[in-house]
């Protein structure tokens, strides 16, 4: 009894605060509710502080650093707030590299804390030392190495500010172990942001807005291209209002899916390599292209010589470096998408007269829709997506991996609302989808979250099954299983003389048993009838489920623009 009392006394006495305790306080001040992390030697002081914080800040333990950083990306995509990551030095940090690069390419806000060896041994090739600053300089929006604990309040504040403003992106903070472990001699001063070299432009130039409004009034064949900048600006409502005011047809990029309601008569769907006929032809034939928050990625534009060849190009982007980078721009507008759209809506300009153009596009939509043919030999992957769309009423949060299933999901899981679609666009990271779905489910616990993954990519990060079981996160995993690295196989068939080189996965785990070994429900489905029976059960169940959908291996993603071809040179359009 006496011993107990003594122990209690020790715990309640005020222990000196460490740099790590200060870090946790600062994170709480930033409103951080979840940490995506993995412990290790150099972050032991930080994990000690997490322990001392007694659950006042949630920490989700993943099974690999790649898994946790993709989860943080999924979280950031859904909430718009930075995903916060903790990993140890050396291998912990280098395992984050793919996720950091992915976030950089897709402009996702992350604040990444990595442990570092003590300052006294930096540069001596100490155990688990890696030059994380040099490694991450080209793949972060900015990075810091903390040299003094008194800098920590400022650095944390700046890191969150940089990550979440302007064009969002990942910021890394490298913390030497002696800084996180060191005791504070005094409470450091409140941090304040001092960034004279960072002042993003958010308000559009009124002259350019006027110019664009005039061009809209004069255009005979206008079209809007909506990208992820509309999501970051939370400007979907304004986009819809602007498009409807002037009856402007809208195409979206892969990442821009959901920015404009897919069921609107003005929606032409996704453009690009696997875009719809109507969307790609609208870009090819338009005389005014209004790009809002897209970066003219090569997978969108195809051969630049044939991209919007007759168009005046207006480009609204918060990042001035994107304007004119790939496509010559006549009306550059550096601005937040919402600010620019509000200004455009307020301009009392006339609407263009372009009935004939809308009629042409309507015809394209009707005559050349997305299509596939059912086969007696097995289940079509496109149909699987349509079935999932139906059972979830098109309202689920969908995270995908990269490859064929990603493109089919983009084509057939049509969204009515923004912030429902999570995919790796710029970097094209296999293994992204499943952990990103976990992050989304953590961000939106009451939403239906589906991870649509391929059998190849899923095997890159499937260890995170532990997390969804442990936390009872009701993520539904739909494996579009064609026993192949389907997109590689498709390119080999179409572009490499049908030489199918190392793209068939001859051996696979029994995914149902695999799920069961993690105490997760699993189903294997080989035909439409089975899937129709199983899906309502899957989505009614309040817990994680894995569905292994066996689909036809030969099925290809169409339409397709082969590399080097123009946006109008699609193959596989509905005959």
């Amino acid at each position: 009894m006496k011993v107990e009392a003594k122990k209690l006394e020790f715990q309640t006495s005020i222990a000196p605060k460490t740099g790590a305790d200060l870090l946790i306080d600062l994170l709480k001040k930033e409103g951080v509710d979840t940490l995506f992390g993995y412990p290790g030697g150099a972050v032991l002081p930080i994990y000690d502080a997490i322990y001392r914080a007694q659950g006042s800040i949630k920490h989700v333990l993943f099974r690999h650093e790649q898994g946790l950083i993709h989860a943080a990306e999924g979280y950031a995509r859904i909430t718009g707030r930075p995903g916060v990551v903790i990993a140890t030095s050396g291998p912990g940090a280098t395992n984050l590299v793919t996720g950091i690069t992915d976030a950089m390419m897709d402009s996702l806000p992350l604040v990444v804390f990595t442990g570092q060896v003590a300052r006294s041994v930096i540069g001596t090739d100490a155990f688990q030392e890696a030059d994380v600053m040099a490694i991450t300089t080209p793949i972060t929006k900015h990075n810091y190495q903390v040299q003094s604990v008194s800098d920590l309040p400022r650095i944390v504040k700046e890191a969150f500010h940089i990550a979440s403003t302007g064009r969002p992106g990942p910021v890394l903070v490298d913390i030497p172990k002696d800084i996180s472990a060191g005791f504070l001699t005094e409470e450091p001063e409140e941090g304040s942001i001092h960034l004279p070299g960072y002042q993003p432009t958010t308000k559009p130039n009124p002259m350019q807005i006027k110019k664009l409004a005039e061009s809209v009034a004069k255009a005979k064949r206008p079209v809007i291209l909506a990208g992820a900048g509309v999501l970051h600006g939370k400007a979907s409502v304004e986009l819809t209002a602007f498009a409807e005011k002037h009856s402007l047809p809208v195409v979206t990029t892969l990442l821009g899916l959901g920015t404009f309601p897919a069921d609107s008569p003005l929606s032409l769907g996704m453009a690009g390599m696997h875009g719809t006929y109507a969307a790609n032809m609208a870009i090819y034939e338009c005389d005014l292209l209004i790009n809002i928050g897209a970066r003219f990625d090569d997978r969108l534009t195809g051969n630049l010589a044939h991209f919007a060849p007759h168009a005046k190009v207006a480009h609204i982007d918060i990042d001035p470096a994107e304007i004119g980078k790939n496509v010559a721009t006549h009306i550059p507008i550096v601005s937040d998408s919402k600010e620019a759209l509000n200004e455009l809506i307020d301009q009392a300009s006339e609407s263009p007269e372009h009935e004939a153009w809308l009629e042409t596009l309507k015809q394209y939509k009707q005559e050349y829709p997305l299509w596939y043919k059912h086969s007696p030999d097995g289940m079509c992957p496109q149909w699987v997506i349509e079935a999932v769309h139906k059972v979830t009423n098109g309202e689920a949060i969908v995270a995908t991996d990269v490859g064929q299933h990603q493109m089919w999901a983009a084509q057939y899981y049509t969204f009515k609302e923004p912030h429902r679609w999570i995919t790796s666009g710029g970097l094209g990271t296999m293994g992204f989808g499943f952990p990103a779905a976990i992050g989304a489910q953590i961000a939106a616990p009451d939403s239906t979250v589906v991870a649509i993954v391929g059998d190849g990519g899923f095997q890159m990060t499937l260890q995170e099954l532990s997390v969804i079981y442990e936390r009872n996160l009701p993520v539904k995993i739909i494996i579009v299983n064609n026993g192949a690295l389907g997109m590689v196989r498709q390119w080999q068939e179409l572009l490499h003389g049908n030489r199918i080189s190392e793209s068939i996965l001859h051996t696979q785990p029994d995914f149902v048993k695999l799920a069961e070994s993690y105490s997760i429900r699993g189903y294997k489905v080989a035909n439409q009838e089975e899937l129709i029976t199983v899906l309502p059960e899957v989505f009614a169940y309040d817990g994680p489920v894995l569905v292994d959908c066996r689909v036809l291996q030969q099925e290809k993603v169409y339409p397709m623009i082969a590399p080097g071809k123009g946006i109008h040179e699609m193959i596989g359009v509905k005959p």
């Binding site: 300089t137 004279p196 070299g197 470096a321």
Partner: protein, 173 residues
């Protein structure tokens, strides 16, 4: 085309790496780079001479540099009225008999001898890169043993002429 770009940067560790890394990643060729402190404490200035293909690439490189958090200001000063200088140290093989002959070459360049030994002497020259190139060519027949050059650094002149006068002031084209 050759362009002179100046970047005012925060004097922080790694900032040079950020700038050169960016140029490398975006495939810009750096001909020379010089860095030093400015009149303001904590702020440094870099002067870069880069080779770019066209206007569009030039615009990209300045925009990308501007995006760096530690970069405060980027200017392409090639077409402005500027004073641009480089310093070079040149070690030339020289016996005592040749010294006065060499002095005759060095003097018109307003270069000076800063070290003399039995077999060589070291020359210091300041000027525009072409001037330095010219002196090196004249010294070459005597046996140039070593050259160390600082790279170009530049300042805008106090008076900037009107746009139509610019061409004559342009240093590099």
């Amino acid at each position: 085309m050759k362009r002179i770009i100046t970047a005012t940067v925060q004097d922080r560790s790694g900032v040079l790496n950020r700038v050169t890394g960016l140029l490398q990643r975006r495939q810009f060729n750096i001909e020379s780079i010089s860095v030093g402190p400015t009149e303001t404490e904590g702020i440094s200035k870099m002067t870069l001479v880069v080779e770019v293909e066209d206007e569009q690439r030039l615009e990209q490189v300045t925009k990308q540099l501007n995006k760096q958090i530690d970069v405060l200001k980027v200017s392409d000063i090639t077409d402005k009225a500027i004073v641009a200088r480089e310093l070079a140290l040149i070690k030339v093989a020289s016996s005592s008999q040749l010294r006065s002959e060499l002095n005759g070459i060095i003097d018109p360049f307003r270069a000076i001898v800063i070290d003399v030994s039995k077999e060589s002497l070291a020359v210091q020259i300041t000027g525009r890169p072409e001037k330095i190139d010219a002196l090196i060519e004249l010294l070459r027949p005597y046996g140039v043993k070593e050259i160390a050059r600082t790279g170009l650094t530049a300042l805008l002149r106090g008076h900037q002429p009107h746009v139509n006068e610019l061409a004559t002031y342009s240093l590099l084209k």
